[in-house]
Assembly symmetry: C2
Homo-oligomer: 406 residues x 2
């Protein structure tokens, strides 16, 4: 598919028409010099909303609140989010606190509480400091370019805010898609909380919103993670204001494809930024699996390589130990015939039809030291392909994760 969208310089989640945001230091994070830790995303009008929430059976209180609200009316006008405390494993009090957060925002903005969504990220098992949350919500000032603040307010151990906006055209109307995300905490990326808030001014019906969101997340955040390996708080929300004024987009049309491509571009960009912001990460590993017997196989194999700790360690050490790549493919669950597999590090051929190729070790080392390391696996069994992303694994990861809560 040709890129039919344009990157908007400095774009963020409040770039699409109708959205504004703001954030404050509420004091939920007690370390750091007044870092932002609470924010609100607001839409002038009621939005069509879709969400993908954690599949973990232990679900944080805000996830339970979103689950209920998104199952009902599929409408939202605002969302409130805090970092520094996950409000997970906090019992009935946690649920009451998450609901109170939405009520406070509803009262502040003069909208129904049922149209306010909520998300949290941070340490598990600690109650929210509600006095600080109440004062914090009171003090948030929302503005059209507040998305930049909100992108910083959701960070935990991430090094940098992650934000983007792109525009495209559907039935001769310019529409815009924006988003922000946070991740980190990764050997397996989604063992830490993934939060992603997406906005668009396109007019969408709820089914198209859900379908497009699922497709975009499958090709992005789900390719930096392992099935079911999700945190208690993972939350991806899409809000569509409809203020671009386009004719409603119908499923199965070129317009729907254009919208989906724009949404996917935003999600892939944010997912790669999440990987790059991984704890201790210095490099991005892009794993492309081709010639798989099915799309599912391609996805399984690509993710197995991108999430292999041994592959990640080898990349960190610029060690062309390609046997680890092949071993990961073999245990991925994908159909593999080892006598057919080809393996490439960028243009360097490492393995051809299952047999080792003499290769230039110094050249391979140079490729492994790039900021983006491209690994390609050709299974030569069929026509399906998939791309997954991972980071290298450095000793810093361990240092960071040895002392997080305390």
């Amino acid at each position: 598919m040709a890129a039919r969208f344009q990157l908007i310089p400095g774009g963020t989640v409040t770039t699409p028409a109708g959205f504004s945001a703001g954030a404050v230091h509420a004091g939920i994070k007690t370390r750091g010099d007044r870092v932002l830790d609470l924010g609100i995303l607001y839409s002038e009008v009621s939005c069509t909303a879709a969400g993908l929430l954690t599949t973990n059976k232990v679900k944080a209180a805000p996830v339970l609140v979103c689950q209920e609200r998104l199952a009902g009316q599929k409408k939202a006008r605002a969302l409130v989010v805090n970092s520094g405390c996950a409000n997970a494993c906090t019992g009935d009090q946690g649920l009451a606190d998450a609901q109170e957060m939405t009520s406070l925002v509803a009262r502040k903005l003069g909208i129904p509480a049922a149209e306010v969504l909520v998300a949290s990220t941070g340490v598990i098992g600690v109650p929210l400091p509600m006095a600080r949350v109440r004062t914090g919500i009171e003090r948030v000032v929302i503005s059209r370019d507040g998305g930049h603040q909100l992108a910083r307010a959701i960070l935990t151990t991430d090094s940098n805010p992650k934000q983007i906006a792109v525009s495209t055209r559907v039935n001769n109307t310019k529409i815009t898609v924006g988003g922000i995300a946070k991740g980190a905490g990764m050997i397996y990326p989604n063992m830490a909380t993934l939060l992603c808030f997406l906005s668009t001014d396109a007019r969408l019906d709820p089914r198209l919103a859900e379908w497009a969101l699922r497709g975009a997340v499958d090709a992005s955040f789900n390719m930096i993670s392992v099935d079911n390996d999700t945190s208690t708080n993972d939350t991806v929300i899409l809000m569509a204001s409809g203020l671009a004024g386009n004719q409603p987009i119908k499923d199965g049309t070129a317009d729907a494809e254009a919208f989906k491509a724009a949404l996917q571009e935003v999600c892939v960009y944010l997912a790669k930024r999440v990987v790059r912001g991984g704890e201790g990460a210095t490099r991005l590993v892009e794993v492309r699996v081709e010639g798989a017997a099915s799309e599912q196989d391609a996805r399984l194999a690509a993710r197995a390589v991108a999430s292999s700790s041994l592959v990640k360690s080898a990349v960190h050490g610029a060690d062309p130990n390609w046997g680890r790549i092949l071993a990961a493919v073999g245990r991925s669950g994908a159909e593999v015939d080892q006598s057919k597999v080809d393996l490439y590090l960028d243009e360097v051929s490492l393995l051809k039809a299952g047999s080792p190729v003499q290769f230039d070790v110094e050249k391979a080392r140079h490729i492994l030291k790039r900021e983006e390391v491209p690994i390609r696996v050709c299974l030569n069994l069929g026509g399906d392909a998939a791309v997954a992303w991972g980071c290298d694994l450095s000793a810093d990861y361990v240092t960071i994760n040895s002392a997080y809560a305390t």
Copy 2:
């Protein structure tokens, strides 16, 4: 089950009647001061043999050879093993080399090549230096206490040899079970090669040998690993000489249980030693899951916790960040009702019926600094339980794995 077996001090794989072994420095490992890297296990008589081989779809040449031989006659008299080279992803030459290793041993010992098994561990994708292997096999001298040498010859990055023997009684006859193992390379233990060679002088029929081996491995090595997450070379072999002179053990009897208990004791001991010998590991984490809705659920949950990098990092830092334990349980696939879960660190209660308990943080830290850290999760949904083991995750792991092949 009461322990019905006795530990034999200094016991190893050659302790049971009829077994001998030997090892040499063949020069397959080019670093290290003449470390042992090739060895032979030999039985005076033809043994009933059973094996569990890697489920990885990329299988090393020696695994393919064992697979074929064990599918046939279920008999073995010897096995030859080398470290320093995995003979995996080595094409037709690799297969020829593995077969030649068994032929050389057969000729040396005057036994049929079809009764010789073979295993390799080390770097993938490099052909065996067969000139050295040939001279090495020639030079091996086998002896009754050669099991100690063999235990060292199979090591790669393991810090210590792992060996044990126990005895028990079946129909008034003393029988002995011995074993050696190597592991390491672990965030997920079995991403590195697991080799385990078990011997017994008990008389077993082939079906009981397979059944007992499967049960013992499920309760031991499979509880330090994640399903399907196996290396290209994983090999567990049991050889039963029958020289104890017992009446044949029948399945479903108390004698069969006694044999299985002894075999399991050997495997659990070796599995825990494999975890303790993990790269950079300083502590053993024992995760017991109780009250699960099924045995499968208990196993899934226990393994998810024991293999969680975030839990392992927290243990390394003695950080009582118990939310990571609960998050791992929740994503394990096991049935979980978060409002029913209890969590304990040894005797310290951390979570009761899904709500946090005020606990003594200093006491929890002390427990996390022990050599064995006991974590207990009560799901309170049923009557099934399982135990899994993991090690902590230290920065040394990354240092070791950043430069292994080169």
